[in-house]
Each structure stands twice: as C-alpha cells, then as structure tokens.
C-alpha cells in the first residue's frame, strides 16, 4: 500500500519536473547563448562565455537595434492602449445595453473569430496600398486595434459585474460615460491587466502582417529582425541569441509584473 503511494508520488513529481525543465531549459540556453560565440552556440555549449559585450556591440552597431526595439515598443503600446479602450467599450455596450440588433452583431463578431488571418491578408494588403500606408506603422496599428477576442474576453468578465451598482449610480445621477470610466473600469483592473498582456504580446510577437507591410529596414520590428538574422547566409548565432533575449525580455517583465492579474482575468472569463 505504502510503496505504491510513494511510487505514484515519484511518477507525478518526475513528470512535473521533466515538464518544468523542458519548459524552462530553452530560456537558460538562450541566456548562455547570448554570452557565447557563434561557433559555441551551434555546438550546444551550455555554460556562460565571455562574448556578451561583442554580441551586444554587433546587434547595436550593425543592425540599429535601438531603433528597431523602439519601433516594436511604439506599435505594441499604441495598439494595446487603443485596443483595450475600444474593445472594452464595445463589450460594455454589448453587455449593459442589451438589444436584439446588437446581439446579432455580436454573434457575427464571434463567428468571424473562426476566420484565419490568411483569408484577410490579401484584401488588407490591397487596402493598405490604396490608403498609402505601405511600410508605415499605422497600417499595423489600425488593423489590429479592434480585437474580437478582446471584446469577447471583456464581455465574459463584465457578466460578473453587478448590474445593481450601475443602476444605483444612475439613480445618483452619474452619466453613462462616467459610470463606465469611474466605476466599471477601475473595478475591473485584473481584466484590463490580462487584456493588456494579451494585446501587448500579440502585437509584440506579430510576424506575418509586419513581414508583408514593413519593407524597409528603418521600419522593421524585433520579430522581423530576428527572422532576417537567422535566414542570413552566414548566421551569427551568438548575435541571434542576443536579439532573441532582448526581444523576449519585455514579455517576461510584463508577465511577471502582471501575473497575478493574468490568472484572475482568465479565471473570470472562464467562469461563465
């Protein structure tokens, strides 16, 4: 009896540890890779080396990393702020002002979540050319502000917001916008935090659409830089690792600062 219980424990923890190590190991390797030369990286060297300064110098001097990093940051932050505002407003409109017409629109929105981006790509590309937005960041931002997923996500979370509070605020004479930004928004912090992580991650990591739209080096984003570094004839692996670390760092920082809210936010959306 006892022995089988211990065996079970070993199996469960063994499985967890394998999953954990497999998940975390590439991060470790990425950080050591940043400090190693190209040859050492591709040979799978697992210890820290002394090439970090060299690698950093190369990415900053040969590839204008500062500018590219700021491009990514600019696109992601603007998209995130506008997307959170517009998507949460829409979700609020759908949830707190029920109407048959709007419900029908909402259902169409939900259906459109099934549409793969590939099916939108060509018309969007043509629109971009027509509006003269080719190679401009605005083309990336504008097309990704309204996110059906975020509208859905916010609405699911708004469902648990007590309607009585809104009624009470109305009785007290608060205007509809005031109710939204001074009562609902502040009390849904976790939802906004989770939405922020989702939105920032999506923009920061976007590849296909920027690959089509951003054609000059000046306008490139971090993902495009990493992709082009690795498809070079003579890839410099240490440099690639450095760029990967720099591209991943903001995501990790954001994730760890907002982690608590993130799990709460997802829990809220699954509850219904």
């Amino acid at each position: 009896m006892k022995a089988s219980k211990i065996l079970k424990k070993i199996l469960v923890y063994g499985f967890l540890i394998i999953a954990f190590v497999a998940s975390v190991f590439p991060f470790y390797w990425m950080i050591t890779g940043m400090t190693n030369s190209s040859v050492d990286v591709i040979k799978g060297k697992l210890t820290f080396g002394d090439q970090m300064i060299n690698n950093l110098k190369t990415v900053f001097n040969s590839y204008d990393l500062g500018r590219i990093f700021l491009n990514s940051l600019k696109i992601s932050l603007i998209t995130m702020v506008l997307s959170l505002l517009i998507s949460s407003m829409a979700a609020y409109g759908f949830e707190f002002y029920p109407s048959k017409h709007r419900d029908r629109i909402y259902n169409i929105f939900l259906l459109s979540m099934m549409i793969p981006f590939a099916a939108l790509m060509i018309p969007l590309f043509k629109l971009t050319v027509k509006f003269g937005m080719l190679d401009k960041h605005i083309a990336i931002i504008l097309t990704s502000i309204a996110s059906v997923f975020l509208i859905f996500f916010f609405r699911q979370n708004f469902k648990s917001f007590p309607k009585e509070i809104i009624q009470a605020a109305r009785v007290d004479g608060a205007g509809e916008f005031k109710i939204f930004y001074s009562i609902v928004m502040p009390s849904m912090k976790s939802t906004y935090a989770a939405g922020a992580i989702y939105s920032f991650m999506t923009s920061w990591n976007a590849y296909l659409w920027p690959l089509i739209i951003l054609q000059t080096d000046k306008q490139k984003t971090m993902t495009l830089l990493i992709s082009s570094l690795s498809s070079a004839y003579f890839p410099e692996y240490g440099v690639i690792m450095t760029a990967i670390v720099i591209a991943t760092l903001p995501m990790i920082v954001i994730f760890f600062t907002l982690q608590r809210h993130f799990v709460e936010g997802i829990t809220g959306s699954v509850k219904q």
Binding site: A119, A146, W204, I266
Partner: protein, 309 residues
C-alpha cells in the same frame, strides 16, 4: 401615460448609448475584418492577367485539386493538426489535473515555469529550436541524445522531411502546452470539491475521477481549446517559415517542402513570385471552409455544450 413615454425615451437614450459604445469597434471591424472576408471571396472568383481582373467563377477552386503544391500544403497542415493538437491538449489537461491537486508542493513554481514558453514570440522560439535541433553531430539535442545512448547517429532533424515535421510538432507542443494548461486550471477552480469527495467515498480512483468528473465538467473549456488550437494550426505560418533554411526567401519550405502549410502557400502565391491574388484567395477560402466544418464537428462531438456559454 407620462410614465410610458418617460420609460420609452429612457430606452431610446439607452439604446443610443449602446450604439455609441460599440461604434468604434464596429467601424474598425467592418473595415478590417468583415469587408476583407467578403472581398476575399469575390477575389477568389477572379483572375488577374496583366492589368485586367476578370471574373472566372469557381475555376480557381477547380484548379486547386489539380495543384500538387496545394495538395501537399493541405496534407502537411492536416498532419500537424491530427497528431499535434490531441497530444498537446492531453498533456495540458494532465498537467492541469496534477497541478490542481492540493497536496502537490511548489505548485506556483511549476505552473509559472510550464506557462513561461507562452510569452515567447513564435519567431524567437522557432529560431531557438532551429539552433537546438541542428542536424549535425554537435547539435545540442543530438549531442544530448547521443551521450545518453538513445541514438547512435545524429538525427537529421531539419534535413529530413519526416524529422522536420517532428521538430515542428515538438516546438509547437513546447510553446502551447502551458498556455492551454492555464485555461484548464482556471476552469478547474469552478468544479466543486464536493464532487470529488463524493466520488472518493464511492470508491472511485483518481483515473475514474479524471474521466467521469474532470473531463465532463471541463467540456466547454476542452471545446474552446480544441477550436482555438485547430484554427491556430490551420494558420500555421511563423514556425515552418522560420525553421526552414533561408526563411521567407528560401526556395522550399522545409526539406522537400515538408513544412509547406496552407498559410505559407498563400504567402508564396502572393508575395514570392508573380502575385496570384485570385488563386491565393481561393486557397484562403478553403481554410475558412475547413475551419468552419471542423468547428461544427468539434461542437457536435462535445454534445452541444454551447448553451452554457
């Protein structure tokens, strides 16, 4: 009477606010989502010769079935879908079940660590995997496997059509298992403990509890993760593109086009050679149709759990 008009006008202003709140999103979605969907369908019935675009009906769709590249892309995409998605979701569910157990120690650390891959960009982790799965004898994974005497010869991870598919699947599983696990974990918090306690009293073991309580209670979440993973796989682009030599400008996608997916094919048709927008739009509509059919099947298999949403 006055009451009625008052409540009527209240409803009218309420309705107006409703429209206002959704208006920005509505306008953007109509321009950048609904219009493109419709326009894409129109495009799929046209062909561009030189400067003129002419209506060709469904002949683009008829051409698809005679196009070996399209068939190849379709086959590759389905192989990824059928093998990788179930394995990943089962792993996610298993990990979530283990981590939901109150007696497990260091839960937070395990959960965070296993979720961590989900914060990496698709391009970044793909390139990381490309370096780890270097086909030479000194590639990291090969070296590790050889030193553990699991293999004798280095595996041609990215040079062999079969192994390059395996690499993509391993990479996908690494990236998305923790992500899906979080959805399962969140949903599990809503399963009342009493259910398990009652089952325990009735003598059901852990495996029984998993199949007869956890799985049925998680049905909506299982449907959600299955649908999103299916659509995600149908759109697979970043990974095959960046795992293959030469990236977006390489001659083939993976050895012998073994990594050519539908999305990559659409990209190639539009941006690599002379643009064939009409034909590419037809390929993209095939994805739409497949996604729709699979979604319906997935809902049906789950037994109409959608009313709970």
């Amino acid at each position: 009477m006055a009451e009625v008009t008052k409540s009527n006008s209240f409803e009218k202003t309420q309705n107006r606010y409703g429209w206002f709140f959704i208006s920005f999103a509505l306008i953007l979605i109509v321009i950048f989502l609904l219009y493109p969907i419709v326009y894409s369908f129109y495009l799929s019935t046209t062909e561009t010769k030189g400067m003129v675009q002419k209506f060709v009906g469904f002949s683009n769709y008829a051409r698809l079935f005679k196009d070996p590249m399209f068939i190849k892309a379709l086959k590759n995409t389905f192989i990824f879908l059928i093998i990788q998605v179930p394995i990943m979701l089962f792993l996610s569910l298993l990990l979530a079940t283990i981590l939901n157990d109150k007696s497990i120690k260091f839960k937070g650390i395990f959960r965070t660590g296993i979720f961590l891959p989900a914060v990496t960009s698709l391009v970044a982790y793909t390139i990381l995997f490309k370096m780890m799965f270097n086909s030479g004898a000194d590639g990291m994974v090969n070296k590790a496997l050889m030193s553990m005497h699991i293999i004798k010869e280095p595996i041609q991870w990215l040079l062999d059509p079969f192994w390059s598919k395996v690499t993509v699947m391993l990479a996908l599983t690494w990236r998305w298992t923790g992500y899906n696990m979080i959805f399962f974990l969140s949903a599990m918090q809503n399963i009342p403990d009493e259910l398990y306690e009652a089952a325990e009293i009735d003598g059901a073991n852990k495996a029984h509890q998993f199949w007869y309580i956890t799985v049925p209670m998680l049905k909506p979440t299982i449907v959600f993760t299955t649908v999103t993973s299916t659509i995600g796989t149908l759109q697979l682009f970043d990974e095959p593109m960046n795992l293959s030599t030469g990236g977006p400008s390489g001659t083939t996608t993976g050895p012998g086009n073994s990594l050519l997916t539908l999305s990559v094919y659409i990209y190639n048709l539009c941006f690599k050679y002379t643009p064939k927008f009409g034909y590419a739009a037809a390929v993209s509509y095939v994805i739409v149709i497949i996604a729709a059919i699979l979604t319906v099947i997935e809902f049906k298999v789950a037994g109409d759990n959608n009313e709970s949403k």
